[in-house]
Assembly symmetry: C2
Homo-oligomer: 173 residues x 2
């Protein structure tokens, strides 16, 4: 028949630890998310070097990628949320490539992070700044057991929606 060509199907994502060979693809995802300014309170002018410092964690924290063969579909980082007397609560962040959204990659990454945090002995997981208009993220986190702790009003300057709230979300592990 011809005409419209379907995008290549994306298989189920496999999640594995980040390796330096993934950086070009991870940077492409991070750059896209940060420049869009819709979901992360990161400087959109962030350089590649700054992005590497921010996104690539060192043990005992962890950065992972969700892959389909050689292709990186998404990435996550996970760590303690605070130090000392706050170090028993974890946090995590997730980014999915533009053209891999809506296929469960974010959910797979979030489930992985929850398992990681549980295995590492954390008592809970906290998200510090979930943009309230990011429905995909908010709905996913609720589905995975996170509660809304509160919303900081007008704390995120969305490029088209103006100043919207930032949710703090939490779940016990």
């Amino acid at each position: 028949m011809g005409g419209v060509r379907s995008p290549p199907p994306i298989g189920p994502a496999r999640i594995r630890e980040y390796a330096e060979a993934d950086w070009a693809q991870v940077w492409s995802i991070v750059r896209g998310v940060v420049r869009a300014q819709e979901t992360f309170p990161y400087d959109p002018a962030m350089t590649e070097e700054q992005a590497h410092l921010v996104w690539i964690e060192r043990p005992p924290a962890l950065t992972v990628v969700a892959v389909d063969g050689p292709r990186v579909l998404g990435t996550a980082k996970m760590s303690a949320n605070r130090g000392g007397p706050g170090a028993h609560v974890s946090t995590a962040s997730f980014m999915v490539a533009d053209d891999a959204r809506g296929r469960g990659v974010g959910e797979a990454l979030c489930r992985f992070a929850l398992d990681w945090a549980r295995d590492a002995g954390f008592a809970g997981m906290q998200f510090n700044a979930v943009v309230e208009t990011n429905r995909a993220a908010v709905d996913l986190y609720r589905r995975l057991g996170f509660s809304l702790i509160g919303t900081v009003p007008r704390a995120f300057a969305h490029p088209t929606l103006g100043r919207v709230g930032l949710h703090i979300m939490y779940r016990d592990l």
Copy 2:
């Protein structure tokens, strides 16, 4: 009369920008607060070098000291709370020397930080992790116009009270 000797009176604190010559006194305050593990989610084993990195801000952020003559009574740091689309909300942290508490030093530092943030054009100020059992801080922040956004349950391991909540507090500027 003799007998009990009163501590030397502490005059009204003057607040000025931190200078490297203040470090010994600032480190003494930071070390005391962090080792007590009652109010800050910082690693109690934090080294002097790490403390310097964490506490001494670079412009446009600011670290200040509250002084009475040559003596440093307390210190504060203030900055944007997040980057990019979150950079219009400020944050600040305050520490007061053990033997200078209950004399309005924290309040003077907090008022200074609010003025600084307003002058710098920030739209609000957010505290990310106020230990709920730190009544002096919680009461002060409420008195200065901060509202409770929410409390992350059991997120702070207090040395004598067990796991207590961490408040997120906010006010518009």
